[in-house]
Symmetry: C2
Subunit: 634 residues, 2 copies
């Protein structure tokens, strides 16, 4: 038996399966059953309720059609199939058995095979949804699509599919020499990231499990901005990331509604923690209205996009509206403490979800003031460079710039950031040092992961950290901190961190390289590199960690490769784990394509750009001509 199946990267509404059976040591009859099954049970259903109504079933000789509808949201999907059969490459004409049940349609085909003969079936599917077609057009279009694929043929469909993938690999591949397992691990990740999101539709986003599992319901989290955006920014055309930003831009009215439900007003926007269409889909208070740092990641992604692509027009056209909404939220969410004579942010949950409802989470406070500052700079930029648009915004957003930014400036100037003078370390939150200070290394190994062995009570009250958000803040806003400061905080927080979020180790790996601890960085890298491939946590049945796969990619490019982009410039500071001989990656910066190869002794920069490129390698300016390379000794 041989089979090949794919959902085409080129013909995105088509899929195909080729199924071959060779009678090696017998002659006799063999039946194939080709079908569409609408009787699907989803994993998170309550009381075994099924989510789909079946609206249309139709089976005929040589094809079938099934149309289904989600019960609550009336999302409709039409699936049409056609197939051809052959024996030893010769088309067969035997009459199939046509089967049509209430939720199931198919054909059963019987072959009479002689010993040595191969029966083959090629099934072509066209899929349409009410996202793209009028409800009454689903069927005709699905059937046309199935027919199109049928006539194009399996081999041509597959060749087009391969070609499209090859283009993606040119730009996103990472090559690792001397470590086959690492090479396989990172390619597995890159494949899945590109498989999950192509950037062709601004209404789509990246779920933490992609399409590999039903956990998290395919909804969107801050993972997209914090982890996936850096990957797509570096490996795909700018339009791909831009679509992810537009996704949030289009949801801005919903984010404003979401904030209004909580009592905010005047255009304050709180993006949902979890969403499918802009509405909040999570249902726990300690997350929905306390884990508000997501607003920071969404704002930062705009900055990140612009600094990598140079597309400053995005700011005036779209970004600024999102930034103003988010800044208005922070401005209302932050209150003034008369007792401290400082601004404070009470009752939040940081990325370290092993703390709930804390006061003055350092990361959230930091991101909030960054947002306010960046929004003010952006407003200034738009005013200077696009005064007409600025006037338009004043009206559209009911913007009173002077009045609003006055408070924003005051908050930036007087925000309270918890700090421990004795240790000279930023404190994750108020009162963190009141906790018993224990080290993760001293935990009984049989008690780990603690989230599978400890009560939530014990976890919440312990000082153990799911992912160190203070360090996350230093990663995001690295320019603001000296290496010594990062090192001091890393040495305080990392030993208290149990890394029980798949999003945790990558950030720690990147910072560990930054402070010269390449072995620690490699240890952290290993915790994510083959997380799903080797099923470390015995949870792959729930789906792959798609968004943390982007984190693994970051561990290599931003961690070992030391890639940075700020002040309009590109920086590389490559290191290499002693376990590797060499590694190479590609990055795109402001439309220019560079290949970076790092070995123990040298760094080679190969330009695929059309113009002269300047970048900093180990803080030294390097100039590379088009299609040329430069080698720097390590």
């Amino acid at each position: 038996m041989r089979s090949r199946r794919f959902v085409s990267m080129a013909d995105t509404e088509n899929g195909a399966i080729r199924y071959e059976v060779t009678a090696l040591n017998f002659s006799g009859s063999i039946s194939f059953c080709t079908y569409i099954d609408g009787d699907i049970k989803n994993e998170d259903s309550n009381y075994d309720e099924k989510f789909w109504n079946i609206l249309d079933v139709n089976a005929s000789e040589g094809g079938a059609y099934l149309e289904s509808q989600t019960k609550k949201s009336d999302f409709r999907v039409g699936i049409a199939m056609k197939y051809r059969t052959s024996v030893n490459g010769k088309k067969t004409q035997s009459k199939p058995e046509v089967i049509q049940l209430a939720k199931w349609v198919g054909n059963k085909i019987t072959f009479e095979l002689k010993e040595g003969q191969t029966a083959c079936m090629e099934k072509y599917v066209g899929v349409t949804s009410s996202l793209n077609y009028a409800a009454d057009q689903l069927k005709s279009n699905a059937e046309e699509l199935a027919s199109y694929a049928y006539h194009k043929g399996f081999d041509q469909l597959f060749t087009d599919h391969q070609k499209k993938w090859a283009e993606k690999w040119v730009h996103s591949d990472i090559k690792i020499k001397g470590d086959v397992a690492a090479q396989q691990g990172i390619r597995f990740n890159i494949f899945h990231l590109n498989q999950t999101y192509t950037g062709e539709d601004e209404r789509l986003n990246v779920g933490p499990k992609g399409f590999t599992g039903e956990k998290y319901g395919g909804t969107t989290y801050w993972d997209t901005e914090a982890y996936c955006v850096p990957f797509f920014l570096m490996t795909a055309p700018p339009e791909v990331t831009r679509q992810l930003l537009i996704y949030r831009y289009k949801h801005l009215p919903r984010a404003i509604e979401n904030a209004e439900k909580l009592g905010f007003n005047k255009g304050a926007a709180l993006y949902p923690m979890v969403t499918a269409n802009g509405e909040e889909c999570h249902n726990e208070w300690e997350i929905t209205f306390e884990e508000i740092h997501r607003n920071g990641a969404i704002a930062f992604a705009i900055h990140n996009y612009i600094r990598h692509t140079g597309d400053k027009n995005y700011l005036a056209e779209y970004g600024i509206e999102v930034l103003v909404g988010i800044s208005r939220f922070w401005s209302q969410r932050i209150t003034f403490s008369e007792a401290r004579k400082k601004y404070v942010m009470l009752g939040v949950t940081g990325p370290n979800e092993y703390e709930n409802n804390v006061n003055n989470n350092w990361y959230t406070n930091k991101m909030a003031t960054w947002c306010l500052q960046y929004t003010m700079e952006s407003l200034e930029y738009v005013k200077q460079n696009n005064p007409d648009r600025f006037e338009e915004l004043v009206t559209k957003l009911k913007l009173n710039e002077e009045h609003e930014t006055q408070r924003w400036k005051d908050i930036v100037a007087k925000m309270h950031f918890p700090f421990n003078e004795e240790l000279q370390v930023h404190m994750q939150q108020d009162g963190f040092m009141d906790k018993e200070q224990l080290m993760a290394a001293d935990l009984d190994p049989t008690q780990r992961p603690i989230n599978q062995h400890w009560s939530w009570d014990r976890i919440l009250r312990s000082n153990f950290i799911k992912q160190a958000d203070t360090l996350q803040g230093m990663y995001v806003l690295e320019e603001e901190f000296s290496t010594e400061e990062i090192e001091r905080n890393f040495n305080f927080y990392e030993p208290r961190t149990v890394h029980e979020s798949s999003l945790s180790p990558c950030v720690h790996s990147i910072l560990a390289t930054k402070i010269g601890r390449i072995d620690k960085a490699y240890e952290m890298y290993l915790r994510t590199s083959r997380l799903d491939l080797d099923d470390y946590n015995a949870e792959v049945h729930e789906g792959l960690h798609i968004t943390s796969m982007a984190g693994t990619w970051m561990s290599i490019v931003e961690g070992f490769g030391g890639k940075r982009a700020y002040d309009e410039k590109l920086y590389l500071n490559p290191d290499i784990p002693s376990q590797w001989e060499e590694y190479a990656f590609r990055i795109t910066f402001k439309g220019n394509d560079l290949e970076v190869r790092v070995s123990e002794t040298e760094v080679e920069i190969i330009s695929h750009a059309k113009k002269t490129i300047q970048l900093y390698v180990y803080k030294q300016l390097v100039t590379v001509e088009p299609q040329q390379s430069q080698t720097i000794s390590r």
Copy 2:
């Protein structure tokens, strides 16, 4: 039509209905349908699922039986009925229609009435449950009970019922002159408290809605110890309250299990927030393992019982085991902050549930150290007075007194209590003054109650208080605080309190009287006195506020009456609202029954005790001989 129905206070497994219809201006036929309906839908069912299976239905001429079973817990109830009919007092013999459906049994009886005649039906019911009978004995016993009532007859059943009630009224009535509405309000409450709990069965307790509504599912809360115990201690024989304590004693193993589930060990006990059988029934983390002050109320009820009844044997026999379990919990739950060099209690929710997951809730810290102290004193008492029992306890509880109490003493000595030096006020929790300090009086009245108008986000982050737990602590442990201190804290907290718990105003009313603000006390009293009768919050359909009714009683006796019991002595310090002419109440103290009458000009103490009683009125020692009275001028 005339009807009378009652569940008998004397024959506690019987109920009866008398239904009379007089044909005033016609002659004709009238049908009565008498039935038992097992097809009950409970209000908190999911997906309209019914909770009951029907195991047996049986209808015959003159009677019927129905047996049902709860689906999950196999609790069984058998109900048998018999009835008799008459016209103008003369027994009728007409043949009924016997109706038996799958979940419904009954008889339909038709009378031919002449103008002026009265048809009467008396229905007698016997109810048995698997709490008291073997499953296969439910039917025979229910039928015997119905038969017993049938033969006793309606009038005799009612007379016995009345007699039993009259005894209760003698001891628990409060008489108010000059305010009919207040008189009706407090009697309504006293009736419901006695109707709900009689103290005959140690397996039963008091649900916040009693039997008047399904909300809270009939389960037990800390309301029992904090509010109902004081009522029953003063108005009923000591055995009644003792049963409430035994209820918790019997649940001690479950409380230890509950703590073990959270990671505590060595006999630490955490009583559930909500329970039916000792297991935790609540399902929100911020309540189940954070609202742990309930442990304090359960310990304090032991002390309260002993100081009122003098029954010190209870301590050695039962109380001490509960106290040790609770103290072990506090000892493990409290941790040492190296930063403060103080013990702290992190991540709790106080009685003020408008704050969640706070650090060092003053009330909880206070109750915890009180528990440790009282447990140590109690251990000492048992050791001195009952050394055999003490030795038994050492074995049973694996008690290492010296070792364990060493830490308890250290906690008592070094506990952190948030305090604001500038205001000289105890702080509800760490960081309370970081909140915007707003006053309830300044709230837009259309926004109240805030829990019906504001998001949970807004409520949690505001400084508004559901019930002021700092003041609750001062109420419970009043001896520890000077009147000035109470006044200072009252003046700080009460204006920030929205009293959106029905348990809130009574405590504030009591303290307001204490600090000489009788008008404020009366204002607070009015908020609870007719809460259900006048349906202030349009929520009576959910059931009555049974436990807060005890609080209203306390507002009069402990508030206006100034009743206190400490250091083995009884104190009265009566005041009277200007709206009242006179009020009178009865209290029991160490088995002696006193009547107290308060008017604008005098206080009269009438003794119904068998021996000479000494008490303090306005701090002066008063001696009252048996069946005598003493009058003190005001």
